[in-house]
């Protein structure tokens, strides 16, 4: 029950800030319309069982650090893929890799698969059991090393839950 109230409160705060950020008006009509929309969406989410509170204090510290690291990896692989596009075609290497997933929560698995796809040069094709099938443009070993480090970093954040 307490977890449910926390989830409802969190969703309400998040949706209200989104409304205020997007509208920018503070007159009574706008705020009332916003409040009605927020209540409606929270009610819909509750009916769809979407109000699961997976936010933990450790995430607030761990996730920004992970995203900063990921941003740097994305920039680096942008330059690698740009070099592949501009280089003679004979130097191109395409492979398909299988990467093991030990993440437990849905958020962990989604973060891992999305991080792989967000990084140019690797795209998650499919998930089979506890493996992700990844298409790689570039060197197989680099993709493997990067994928493993991503996996371990996410697992560490998950482990602190």
């Amino acid at each position: 029950m307490r977890a449910e109230i926390a989830a409802i409160a969190l969703t309400t705060v998040a949706l209200s800030s989104l409304w205020i950020a997007l509208s920018g008006y503070f007159n009574t009509l706008q705020l009332c319309l916003g409040a009605i929309s927020v209540v409606f969406v929270v009610w819909l989410s509750a009916r769809l069982d979407l109000l699961v509170n997976e936010l933990r204090p450790s995430l607030l510290l761990g996730l920004p650090r992970y995203h900063a690291w990921l941003a740097w990896q994305v920039i680096k692989s942008n330059f690698q893929v740009a070099a592949i596009i501009l280089a003679p075609r004979s130097r191109m290497r395409r492979t398909v890799l299988r990467m093991l997933v030990k993440q437990q929560t849905a958020v962990g698995i989604a973060t891992y698969a999305n991080s792989i796809t967000l990084t140019p040069g690797t795209v998650t094709l499919d998930a089979e059991g506890d493996e992700l099938i990844v298409h790689v443009l570039g060197r197989k070993r680099d993709a493997n090393v990067l994928g493993m480090e991503m996996h371990d970093r996410i697992a560490r954040i998950e482990g602190s839950l």
């Binding site: 950020a21 994305v74 596009i85 395409r94 040069g121 795209v123 998650t124 094709l125």
Partner: protein, 108 residues
């Protein structure tokens, strides 16, 4: 101060434009569907992020910046999902990704 800001804006715009161009070139030049997804990835990551960052520098601390940041977040969360959905759709349609065998270097 505003000159430094304008120079930084210009550099980011050039960076973003160059990566959008390289991405577009890759979509035309790469030989198969799956490797072209990687080229599109260039446009949706560094291309769009650099251009949006340049716009944020010009918008300063305002409501516009909040909206630009929201656009950034939505692009970065939805585009991998879209890329994955496209790749998966192709795979489920029995289109297998072409693979380059590593040329053996030891015996030869």
């Amino acid at each position: 101060m505003s000159l430094a800001l304008d120079i930084a804006t210009g550099l980011l715009l050039v960076l973003g434009t160059v990566f959008c161009l390289i991405g577009a070139l890759g979509i035309l030049r790469l030989p198969d569907y799956f490797s072209r997804i990687h080229a599109a990835g260039l446009i949706e990551t560094l291309g769009s992020v650099a251009i949006l960052a340049a716009l944020i520098l010009q918008a300063g601390l305002s409501m516009t910046t909040v909206k630009l940041l929201l656009i950034l977040v939505f692009i970065l969360t939805t585009s991998p999902t879209a890329s994955h959905a496209l790749a998966r759709a192709a795979l489920h349609d029995n289109y297998r990704p072409p693979i380059d065998e590593d040329k053996p270097t030891s015996n030869n």
